[in-house]
């Protein structure tokens, strides 16, 4: 009520805060631009079509996982099972796909949906904290992936030929990723379902009291996350031409880091999925720069850790400042 009675603080300040408010919300784009500028100094190869295609192609699978993670983080949860479900989906398709591609796709997505449902039911009816519920499902998915196959399964070239097409710098996995991101962006901004997710993440109790079907929305989000993770598995098969049971250890956390870089609030209720995807590109670009600069891979984890700490502390400080401002 206070904020309605008083004019917004930014109006009473000068040009400096107007610049700040123009930048605020779009810092992420600025960061990407600066990063690209920096990278082109570090390596002459960076600004080439091939390298951009590489970055996007490498970002695509993580990007789809980040879409899944974004939805769950938005409603105030976490999904640690995304990468394990991706691995399971990749081996299911690699095993069944050669006999019947539609069956392979259906089985992969079905497994993702089923495990997502398990997450959702555990979190809602089971009252298990999301981190632990999805950790349990991560173990289940990873276990099943190894039951399907102990070793990587190569997928015949002919089977993937139609999916190997590229459009300029966009490979098929990249196009799948961008399509998913755009669809979700529309879903989140323009549908009742999407707005409900922001309400749940902002304050679950108020959302419930306001008549939002919280439980069914939560379950739907976890199912969606499972299906998207399975799609990431299919994109991975297209990219690497194989199904790998142990692939992607730790990617669930990379996905969280990437979307937080992209401005998603770690505790739910805030965030823009397209900016989160820019976060993914930034995350991948940093890795790309370190590779191009032939940085000792041992330092790469250290750099990654530092980036995560800086980004998250900035995001936490912003959140604290904004709560202090309205209190």
């Amino acid at each position: 009520m206070m904020s309605l009675a008083n004019p917004p603080a930014s109006v009473s300040h000068g040009a400096r805060s107007r610049l700040a408010s123009l930048l605020s919300g779009n810092e992420i784009v600025l960061v990407l631009v600066l990063l690209v500028a920096f990278a082109s100094f570090v390596s002459p190869v960076f600004l080439t079509e091939t390298n951009f295609r590489n970055i996007l192609n490498q970002a695509s699978v993580l990007g789809i996982l980040a879409c899944a993670q974004f939805l769950v983080v938005l409603i105030g949860g976490f999904d640690l099972s995304v990468a394990a479900i991706m691995a399971l989906s990749s081996v299911i398709f690699a095993t069944l796909g050669p006999a019947s591609p539609p069956l392979g796709i259906a089985a992969s997505l079905g497994a993702g949906a089923a495990l997502g449902l398990l997450n959702g039911v555990a979190v809602t009816f089971g009252r298990v904290t999301p981190m632990i519920a999805t950790l349990g499902v991560m173990g289940i998915a990873r276990g099943f992936a190894f039951v399907v196959t102990e070793k990587s399964v190569a997928v015949p070239r002919e089977l993937l030929a139609p999916a190997k097409a590229t459009l300029w710098i966009f490979t098929t996995p990249v196009m799948i990723w961008l399509l998913i991101a755009l669809l979700l962006s529309w879903l989140l901004a323009r549908t009742r379902f999407g707005r409900n997710l922001y309400a749940i993440g902002g304050n679950e109790r108020s959302a419930r009291l306001a008549g939002v079907p919280v439980t069914s929305r939560q379950i739907a989000v976890y199912v969606l996350s499972g299906v998207l993770s399975a799609l990431a598995g299919l994109a991975l098969v297209v990219r690497t031409s194989s199904g790998v049971p142990h692939v992607g250890a730790g990617w669930e956390l990379d996905a969280i880091a990437a979307i937080v870089i992209g401005g998603a609030r770690l505790f739910g209720g805030e965030g823009n999925i397209l900016k989160a995807m820019i976060g993914v590109i930034i995350y991948q670009t940093i890795a790309n720069i370190m590779n191009l600069a032939s940085l000792n891979p041992f330092y790469q984890d250290i750099v990654k850790a530092t980036v995560i700490v800086i980004v998250v502390s900035v995001s936490v400080m912003q959140a604290r400042r904004s709560t202090r401002g309205t209190a």
């Binding site: 276990g143 770690l266 330092y299």
Partner: protein, 329 residues
């Protein structure tokens, strides 16, 4: 009367549920394995397996009771083992590709504990000063330590530590491996710390309600700092035990350990929301999971299926405990 009885029994199950399940499981495993499970040598194996993870879990429990989480314990364990094994043996120091120097046996042991406590302290400082959520902080620490481990070892494993380690791991007292006594000692110290000291009371207070604790004059920052530092120190001790077991450690060791520590806590009934659970819970969770994994090994169940079974066990256990805790609140 009946309501009181009902509450009393719920309380009983919250406090002793896992112990009852553990007892029932031991009987079940003994029958199904036709006695193999109960052989003294097998029980000693279970306790040995439980002791490394148990020390890790008790450290993690301090942080969790205070309302945090420490995802860096396994990385700290490996760093500690690498320092103790790599810098404490002259032969190993000449074989390690990275920059790890030879320090001498005792200095290396001290250094191992020191880096572990330091890592824990850094976690605590980041959580309390920068206000970064514990799981992100400790995740970043784990990544960072992973990089440092690769750097100091050059990626080569430690397989020639001082002979003391293997000798310690193989030594027995009353038929039990020495590490089991270390675990028991840590458990007693843990019990004393959380039940008999002011620090223990403040630990539960902070985990139960941080704001109320702050307003009652408890230094939340200090409590969290101590909890994270002790967790790091115990992870360092677990590193010592880990190295004693096989005399081998590499940057890739300890894959499923982190998940196992969290699983043991929640299966034992320590709430990840903080403020609930103690020695009995943590130790019974560790023993139950160690028994389950040993039983599945005896029954020749594939380790991958075991992974899946553990996942289901976590989901079921947490769901039961959180329904009980919600009813109590």
């Amino acid at each position: 009367m009946s309501v009181k009885d009902h509450l009393a029994s719920r309380r009983f199950w919250q406090d002793n549920g896992t112990i009852v399940v553990l007892a029932a499981f031991v009987v079940f495993a003994a029958v199904v394995s036709q006695g193999v499970f109960l052989r003294p040598s097998n029980l000693a194996t279970i306790l040995y397996q439980a002791s490394i993870i148990g020390v890790l879990v008790l450290g993690q429990a301090l942080v969790v009771i205070a309302g945090g989480i420490d995802l860096s314990v396994v990385a700290i364990l490996i760093l500690s083992a690498v320092v103790m094994g790599g810098a404490g043996s002259e032969q190993q120091a000449t074989m390690t590709l990275g920059g790890l120097p030879y320090l001498g046996f005792w200095p290396a042991i001290v250094a191992g504990f020191a880096v572990s406590a330091l890592a824990g302290l850094v976690n605590g400082l980041m959580v309390t000063r920068l206000h970064i959520p514990a799981f992100i902080t400790t995740l970043a620490t784990a990544l960072l330590l992973g990089g440092i481990i690769l750097l100091v070892t050059g990626g080569s494993p430690i397989y020639y530590p001082d002979p003391f380690f293997l000798a310690f791991g193989e030594s027995r007292l009353l038929g039990l491996p020495a590490p089991v006594f270390v675990f028991a000692g840590v458990a007693v110290a843990f019990w004393w710390l959380v039940n008999q000291t002011t620090f223990g009371k403040t630990l539960y207070a902070v985990g139960g309600n941080e704001r109320a604790s702050h307003y009652s004059g408890i230094s939340v920052t200090r409590v969290r700092l101590v909890a994270f530092t002790l967790s790091g120190l115990l992870a360092g001790l677990a590193g010592f035990l880990f190295l004693s077991r096989t005399g081998y450690v590499s940057y890739a060791s300890g894959g499923d350990l982190l998940m196992a520590t969290l699983a043991a806590l929640v299966v034992g009934g320590v709430s990840l929301a903080g403020g609930i659970g103690g020695t009995k819970h943590a130790v019974s969770g560790v023993l139950l999971l160690a028994s389950l994994s040993n039983f599945m090994n005896i029954m020749l169940i594939s380790p991958h299926i075991q992974n899946a079974v553990n996942g289901v066990v976590i989901l079921v256990a947490v769901s039961i405990y959180s329904h009980m805790n919600a009813a109590r609140a």
